[in-house]
């Protein structure tokens, strides 16, 4: 169908990446910025041309290039918005690294462009094995980004990141092989409609869970994340938090839920239990961090637990909320890492205790940082409020206990974020360098303001983001409906109400 825009979006950064390798420092920077900006334009074009309420899969392409599997691309509303998020964050990442990266610039830009290719590939792939290849390939550039341009302890972090996620994914590969063999197809939409035997679903679910839970990351396999985040360069952290973590959530909503509905319902409590622990434990850990990046990294784990809670609530509010948290967290945590990067570039320290009183000498910075702090807390009017509120409603419908425990995460989130903000921006400067730091440069404003606007847009008018996904969430729900677990809420309307509709309809049936 039509112009292969998805292939173009995948190929363009790849070509630019190869060109970067042969370019000088300056040329590589401009080349990377140009390629990512063009991809952003293409992404916006994709969004405007996407037909809401149209066919489930749009912009499809299919070429049986590889014998066993095909170059099959296509997106639904969920993939669309994640692709838009990726292409939106990429030029920002390039700009954020404009001055911070001084050594081996061409390789750095090439690695980021390669990363963009692979991220778009993951979300656009419609073939099981094509998805796996893109999913797994992302390890290579990220390993290099952390290992070459990372902080002091970068080598340990890069190994941990690589091996942790690799071990998770290889088990998923075996499950994929089994599925392709059983269903006789590798086409994801066909697999989403295939009913796998209930006994096999549990195993398949667990194998996929091993991969997505690590990627997500869920407690207790989250330990790679703080290391990777802290050691990665700023833009690396943005991409990790902004997009790579979303691959876990995307995996759940694309594979685990629609393909293994029975197992999802059976193992709901595993996911819910881990998520509840994650919210409380990682929030408490975040509260005592001395390192800004580590604090935000732990807050990511807590926020991602809202995603899993929403997804496994088996209702529309929950899943839509989870997707909104994914998008909102992509923006907000990315922005927070950028905020940390701004002051790190000036003082080369991530220790909270070295800063203070930044509101005095960096008013613009303090304002934007406050906005993102509030968004991370989930203040109404910002992106995260919509998502967290919806997923908590969804969770409440299925289990009031889950909602109760999860809501404490909102309170704890407010505690650690406000505490962080107070220590950095308020009071008086603790060190002389901190009081001498200059306010945001135009380049830094150019990076942060678009994210701020997007955050507010998502908070004030979430319909723009919910509407493309509505039918796709409906499709997932339709797959889940037969297996959906019962709610623990006993809802009665009025005083003389009959508990459920089927009973009340019986007498009226009798009259006919």
């Amino acid at each position: 169908m039509g112009f292969p825009i998805l292939s173009l979006m995948i190929a363009l950064p790849l070509a630019a990446a190869l060109a970067c390798l042969f370019a000088g420092d300056k040329a590589a920077r401009w080349l990377a910025l140009a390629a990512t900006t063009i991809n952003l334009v293409l992404g916006i074009l994709l969004w405007t041309r996407y037909e809401i309420g149209g066919p489930q899969w749009q912009f499809t392409e299919n070429a049986a290039l590889f014998g066993r599997f095909a170059w099959a691309l296509g997106i639904d509303g969920i993939a669309l918005l994640l692709i838009v998020l990726s292409v939106f964050l990429m030029p920002i990442c390039i700009l954020a690294s404009w001055e911070a990266i001084e050594k081996r610039v061409p390789e750095y830009m090439a690695a980021f462009l390669l990363m963009e290719t692979l991220m778009i590939g993951v979300f656009a792939a419609q073939d099981l094995f094509l998805f796996y290849i893109f999913f797994e390939a992302g390890l290579i550039p990220m390993y290099l980004i952390i290992g070459i341009w990372g902080g002091a302890d970068r080598i340990y972090a890069s190994y941990k990141f690589f091996l942790y996620t690799l071990l998770g994914s290889v088990l998923m590969l075996i499950a994929m092989l089994w599925m392709a063999n059983e269903a006789g197809t590798t086409f994801i939409p066909a697999l989403m409609a295939y009913d796998f035997p209930a006994s096999a679903q549990t195993w398949l679910f667990l194998a996929f869970f091993a991969s997505f839970a690590v990627k997500m990351p869920m407690w207790p396999v989250h330990t790679w994340l703080p290391d990777a985040h802290v050691q990665a360069p700023t833009a690396g952290s943005v991409i990790l938090a902004g997009v790579l973590l979303k691959m876990g959530g995307y995996g759940f909503v694309r594979f685990s839920l629609p393909m293994f509905p029975i197992a999802s319902a059976e193992l709901m409590w595993l996911v819910m239990g881990l998520s509840m622990v994650a919210i409380v434990v990682t929030s408490l850990i975040a509260l005592v961090q001395e390192d800004m990046k580590k604090l935000i990294a732990y807050s990511s784990v807590a926020h991602m637990a809202f995603v899993t809670i929403g997804l496994f609530a088996f209702n529309r509010q929950g899943i839509e909320g989870a997707l909104m948290v994914m998008l909102g967290h992509g923006l907000v945590s990315g922005a927070l890492f950028l905020c940390v990067g701004v002051i790190y570039d000036r003082m080369h320290s991530r220790e909270i205790s070295r800063y203070g009183g930044l509101a005095n000498n960096m008013p613009k910075y303090a304002l934007l940082f406050l906005l993102f702090t509030m968004a991370s807390v989930g203040l109404p009017g910002t992106s995260n409020f919509v998502g967290e509120f919806l997923s908590l409603i969804g969770a409440y419908e299925i289990s009031s206990w889950v909602a109760f425990v999860a809501t404490t995460g909102v309170i704890l989130g407010a505690a650690y974020m406000l505490y962080l903000y107070a220590r950095i921006a308020y009071g008086s400067a603790r060190t002389a360098e901190a009081s001498a730091m200059a306010d945001l440069t135009p380049r830094e404003l150019l990076i942060l303001v678009p994210i701020a606007l997007a955050t507010l847009w998502m908070g004030v008018y979430p319909e723009s983001f919910l509407s493309p996904m509505r039918n796709d969430v409906g499709a997932v729900l339709a797959r889940l409906a037969p297996a959906a677990p019962h709610s623990d809420a006993q809802v009665f309307v009025g005083k003389t109400a009959t508990p459920a509709a089927p009973h009340s309809s019986l007498p009226s049936e009798a009259h006919h």
Binding site: Y159, I174, W178
Partner: protein, 479 residues
């Protein structure tokens, strides 16, 4: 079948042996001055032998009353062997020009070794198998000690010879047991006999034959010679050992298990599964502590043999096809890695082998560093590099045959292997530059590295339909 028709089936071996003898005469009368020309002559012979596979030699079926089989399986393996052998000849002069001691016998020994390997993969009889194996091995022993003034090379040759002779003994003992209890040495006859039930005698014969062959493919627990021989032998010879004889021995193992013992799959499968798991685990764990790059590649080859064996463990045509594809990609990866290893020279041009010497290579020689990275990630089986694909196929074959728990364990062991490949990449890209490094080597070697890198790059995926078709046709000719 007439003698001429039978001889036509062995055309590649005829070309190589007659050509090899002629070149030997040239070497005897022309002296070592002609060594390079003789090398190119050998490469041309390999080309001719490969071309002859398009005729009856590639698909003619059994000849010499079943002693020799020229099917598409043999043709697939021979093509790989010839490519690997030709590359090993091409990269030798550059190495020996620096190390000294290049003589005209080098390409000729490789030619004779390739004849032996051709006989191995085409064997339809235990004795053909043995003769081919010995021809290959004897040439290999000499090649291992080719740098005769170098004590490490001499030690490698001696070790290889002693342990190789032991393995041949074990193999021969197994052959004699099988002959004694089945009454024939023909694969087809053995298969018929085993189909009537396996007694203790046959079982012992089978175990001894497999043990002898496991030595040749250096599968755990018969791998002990590999690191020492790989480290001591001259690097081009190591490249040869890691590629061509591995392919031949794996192909031979597949033919013996499927054609001669196909009716007793359950009996040999457990042995293969054990060897596969032990090889992937030990090949991965033992490599972690290595500081010598050639030793590390030796463990890597043990590890890879383990994965290739998983395909055979499935016991199906898909599994054999997967193993063949594995070998094809493995040859590209391993030759590429060894040619990269040939570039490891210090500022004065002296060869160095420590991994530490690679520190910061990405700053001094970015192209070579990229080559190393591609081969290491590919050997680790990380997509989108093509090294992922054969691993995918062997595990697919296992899952299709119903062995998914084994596939789960097997693929988890690949993570152990990933660790040490990552270590190389880390040394090259993350560490600060160490000592001076020699400038660019010969354009021939650079071209070969580029070619191998291209083959294992994502472009390799476009070759899947072709690889699938040929490896499947080759595998079907066994079943």
């Amino acid at each position: 079948m007439s003698m001429t028709a039978s001889l036509a089936l062995t055309l590649p071996e005829l070309i190589l042996s007659i050509g090899g003898m002629l070149l030997l005469m040239v070497a005897a009368f022309g002296g070592d001055g002609l060594a390079r020309a003789i090398g190119w002559g050998a490469v041309a012979l390999f080309g001719a032998a490969a071309f002859s596979l398009t005729g009856p030699a590639g698909s003619g079926g059994p000849g010499f009353d079943g002693l020799y089989i020229a099917d598409s399986f043999a043709a697939f393996a021979k093509l790989l062997v010839y490519i690997a052998a030709a590359v090993s000849v091409m990269i030798a002069p550059g190495f020996f020009a620096r190390a000294g001691g290049y003589r005209a016998e080098y390409p000729i020994l490789i030619l004779f070794s390739a004849v032996g390997m051709g006989m191995m993969v085409s064997a339809g009889d235990l004795l053909t198998l043995y003769v081919g194996l010995e021809l290959q091995s004897l040439s290999a022993y000499v090649l291992a000690g080719f740098l005769r003034r170098d004590t490490r090379s001499a030690e490698a040759a001696l070790k290889y010879f002693v342990l190789g002779a032991l393995a041949s003994g074990i193999l021969l003992y197994g052959i004699s047991l099988l002959y004694g209890f089945t009454g024939t040495t023909l694969f087809a006859g053995i298969s018929d006999s085993l189909a009537r039930g396996i007694g203790t005698g046959q079982m012992f014969g089978l175990v001894f034959v497999l043990a002898g062959l496991a030595f040749k493919i250096s599968a755990v627990p018969f791998h002990m010679w590999t690191p020492d021989v790989y480290e001591g032998a001259p690097t081009p010879v190591t490249a040869f050992f890691a590629s061509a004889p591995k392919v031949a021995a794996m192909a031979l193992l597949m033919r013996v298990t499927v054609e001669a013992m196909g009716s007793a799959t359950d009996a040999w499968r457990q042995i293969v599964i054990f060897a596969a798991l032990a090889s992937t685990i030990l090949g991965g764990v033992a490599a972690i502590g290595q500081s010598n790059f050639k030793r590390l590649l030796a463990y890597s080859s043990i590890n890879n043999v383990g994965f290739a064996l998983f395909g055979l463990a499935a016991g199906t045509a898909e599994g054999v096809a997967a193993t063949l594809t594995y070998l094809a990609v493995y040859v590209a990866m391993t030759l590429g890695s060894f040619i990269c290893a040939l570039q490891m020279r210090d500022g004065e041009g002296q060869p160095i082998e420590t991994i530490a010497s690679l520190s910061g290579l990405s700053r001094r020689r970015p192209a070579l560093a990229a080559g190393f990275a591609i081969f290491m990630f590919s050997l680790a089986g990380i997509p989108p590099l093509f090294g992922f694909w054969p691993k995918f196929l062997v595990f697919d074959a296992l899952v299709r045959a119903g062995f998914w728990p084994l596939a789960m364990v097997g693929i988890a062991t690949s993570v152990i292997g990933a660790f040490y490949y990552l270590k190389i990449v880390k040394t090259i890209y993350f560490d600060e530059p160490a000592a001076d490094y020699a400038p660019q080597g010969s354009p021939l070697e650079a071209g070969l590295i580029a070619l191998a890198a291209l083959a294992v790059s994502p472009l390799g995926y476009l070759a899947i339909p072709l690889l699938d078709a040929t490896s499947m046709a080759a595998a079907r000719s066994l079943f």
